[in-house]
Amino acid sequence: MWILGPVGFTAPWLLVALVALPVLWLILRAVPPAPVRRRFPGVALLLGLQDERAEADRTPWWLLLLRMAAVAAAILAFAGPVLNPQPREPGSGPLLIVVDGGWADARDWPRRIDRLAATLQDAGRDGRPVAVVQLTDRPLTPVFQAADAWVARLPGLTPLPQRPEAGAWVAALPAGGFDSLWLSDGLDHPGRADLAAALRDRGALTVWESPRPALGLRPAEFVDGAVRLTALRAVAGAEAVVEISARGLDPAGIDRELARLPVTFAAGDRLATGDLSLPPELRNRLTRFEISGVRSAGAVSLTDDSLRRREVALIAGQGEAEALQLLSPLHYLRQALAPVADLLEGGLAEVIPANPDVIVLADVARLAPDEEAALLDWLDRGGLLLRFAGPRLAASDVGRQDEDPLLPVRLREGGRSVGGAMTWGEPKALAPFGTESPFFGLPLPGDVVVTAQVLAQPDPDLAARSIAALADGTPLVTRRAVGQGQVVLFHVTANAEWSSLPLSGLFVQMLERLAVSTRPVAPGAADLAGQTYVAEQVLDAFGLLADAGEMPGTPGEVLAQALVRGPDAANPPGLYAGPDRRIALNVLGAGADLAPAAWPAGVPVEGADAVPEVNLAGPLLAAALLMLALDVLAALWIAGRLRGGAMAALAVLALALPPQARAQDAPADDALALAATTQVVLAHVVTGDARVDELARAGLRGLSRRLFERTTVEPVEPLAVDIERDELAFFPFLYWPVSTAQPLPSAEAYAKLNRYLRTGGMILFDTRDGDLSGAGATSAEARHLQRLAAGLDIPPLEPLPPDHVLTRTFYLLQDFPGRHTSRAVWVEAAPPDAEQVEGMPFRNLNDGVTPVIIGGNDWAAAWAEDEQGRPLVPVGRGFAGERQRELAWRFGVNVVMHVLTGNYKSDQVHVPALLERLGN
């Protein structure tokens, strides 16, 4: 390879051909383009004419330059140019290829495999023995084999969803000299420096890193009512935005994206956080967060119970009582639970369908039978019913004789008071919690005393059901399992009336232990000890969630260790289910950080900074071909043979461009105004139906000609008007063929149309369905007209009366046929006080021009003419048809006259009176 600046050539001797370019220049320059021979009778008129320019005698310089450039590009292309060539010196001796193979490799695994394959190919060509190790595997002394053997094994290499254990491989390295290539994921893992040092001892070490940034996602936390998400990146670079997609099950049970949160890495920052606020129902359905667009287990964070907020329904027995707030049986519960749970309040019938996790009944004694059944059903499905005693429960007879299904124990009549003014004894303190109790281990504050309580009936099971007791041994809290759920009874009130327990911190901790409130975020080793967790779903390195299948259970201690250290081969990341909770084991833990790998000085690092080699042969050849194609066109143009081709090219361009026929593009507004106002112009509304528009245009053309021939109105070629864009004020008259293809106008267009109608414009609506719509029948066009006109300010209408001024503005007409001969033509209704004066042929209607005429006779079709003045559409039959067409034209003339002269003809009814006044 011969390198010239940033470009190298693989076949440099071909460049010698560039010497031939000047010769080519001379040859091409001497040969002018060949003339075209044309037979042309008009040559008799050309004889004797001299050329004024002699340019085409020689090939023009720019054409020469184009051809030279094309040839030069071709020569350069064949010389094999390569941009940023990376000369590789072939090594010798064995080669060890180290692949990290962790989750961070998954983001560009195919690229790594490509790089690996290329290296194996090179090594195979050089005859070097190769060994490939993946650091996530168990350390085994690598065996050097022929490169071909490894090539066959490449498809079997997959990254594992764990961290590469570089340190463990130091001991497994074979002795002896070998070079190594480390395909690194760019992250700093423990032991990396040791392994790098060991490899450098054996021989030269080259590192390849992917330029694609490594991204990670920490587990979501619940902070201040929102889900806080933290994205990590290894290299602090410029500002970047990543999108985090929150996925979960929709109500149909299908996994889909529920929300999306963009978070921004500030420039120079390796951490980006964002808060995602979701309604509790949505939040409780979340299963995982992903950085969208990154295929890596590190970019996926599974959620477990820690994000789930429990729904607690609070129900008090005396909801309507106007008690002080501090006396409210629910006040302390509300205070204790509001930060850690979602509270529901309302009647029992309303909250049970919401399927809350916990229902708290504070001093509720009796329930209606259907409520009780619903509550039992809910309990069977795993609900937790938490009851508090109180005066009502104490006064009732619930659970006295038989065990109430909604109470854990039988109660004694009346209850007891201790330590009051009228009682013996001191208020009772709490006894330490037994080992069987869920409250075991909670510290007892000394100031918690109980002054009154309901008492449990002594039963054989009472001891087993009691989970907290007073110092004298009477049960304070009892519990019983019902179905999959449980009923818990606090034998005191939920407010501070009977005890100071609700005032203490112990109350909150007890609620927490009872799983009433949401658990703290990270379970510690102590929380998990002694339990067995089974993986339900596992993540692979690419971040795809799969069913775990049959996997052995994991002891809680091991899982707790994995939660701290990260997943390993035995405990892949995933969702682990235990006896009463589910725990997500993520690749990145709560405090995880992504640090970029730091390599010792002297280790060449490929990939990250290296500009990739670019083979320039393809682009150069393409450029040469393009220039040759241009040359063909240019040569044709010079020789005058481009006409047909140019037409075709222009036709293609014209097809690609929007139609220019409407002379009303925004910059041409003035042109439109001039065209419309310097002379009378008839205009029609563009409907979007090409056939209708074409016919309307031809119809107005025919009508314009008739007007020109017969009247002093001399219109020019009609215009097409787009009501969305064009100013309407210039046109005295608009023909609007109603087509169902036309969309409803926008609000602005309606405003414009209404202004137009109010200021004296006239629109002739033509539904073109006069053959179909008879008495009462409606066509699609008529219905569309109703929709179109709904937004228009149209006065009351009536069928055109026989004395309307339209019947005599120019011609005397009684029928208004177009292509159809329907008589239903509607105009603005006459004022109700219009009366026919004795002796006058017409009513006295001399104000206003009707703003709309509505009919369905398809007048444009009857008016339509082509350029030569031949009718476009047949009307009727024979002479009768010609007569009908003539009448259609006359109607058109009358309409235009009506528009332009207003009620001049109607005013003529005054002529006798005027003549009389003048003294005739």
């Binding site: 002018p32 383009p33 060949a34 003339p35 075209v36 021979r37 044309r38 037979r39 042309f40 009778p41 008009g42 040559v43 008799a44 008129l45 050309l46 004889l47 004419l49 050329d51 004024e52 320019r53 002699a54 340019e55 085409a56 005698d57 143009w637 010079i638 020789a639 005058g640 043979r641 481009l642 006409r643 030569q868 002479f879």
Partner: protein
Amino acid sequence: MTLAAPLRARAEELGQALPPLLAAAEHLAATVVLGEHGRRRAGMGDEFWQYRAAAPGDSARMIDWRRSARGDAHFVREREWQAAQTVTIWVDAARSMAFAGHRDRAPKADRARLLALALAVLLIRGGERVGLAGSGEPARGGRSQLLHLARALGDDTAADYGTPPADGLAAHGRAVFLSDFLGDLAPLEAALAHAADRGVRGALVQVLDPAEEDFPFDGRTIFESMGGSLRHETRDAGDLRARYLARLAARKARLADLASASGWHLLTHHTGAPAQGALLWLYQALGPEVR
């Protein structure tokens, strides 16, 4: 040439669209042919021929009110057609007429022949006698003459540009010359002078291809006449366009001068336009002048 049958069919088709054409004779007496006077059929003349019942399509002023007042029906007074006119047609058969500027367009000669024969169909249907100048055959009437005409129209000449015949025009008749008039104008001048001498009036129809009007050529070009007798080479044809158009306009102006000086009508007809317009114009040019 085997064009005769289809050409005639197409000409008949074109001629059917118009009512029978009757050339008004200004010098009626001079052209009356013995035995032809009083043709025993309705037509334009001074003598009463017959009354007939009014039919749809008759205009109101055609109704003879005096006769109609005597009964309930309306009558139209018809007059006898009195004279036959001799019309001589010359169609340029030179090579230049074989030019067609676009492959979709017919050559000019086709159009000229079509017009000529359509006119002949109309004239013969109206009872006129039609002949071809330069064919040596006398002008005749009757349907069989159409066959002769169609056959004679098929002949081509080898000359590059055609020259109108200086003689062979029937005195006081009408004549129609169809050509592109791109060649030398001197023979045309002579022919028109001769025609004026013999009291012949008529129409010149210049049949041009749109390419000849637009000169849509560019670049280095060698122009040759259809026969190859004339040749002009240019390095930039587009550069010549303005001057060519000026010369063409001058040629048309000269033709108009010639026509008006000898009382002829002139029409420039393009093969890109429908033939009907030209035939209509010919009908009006040869028909009675409406005052």
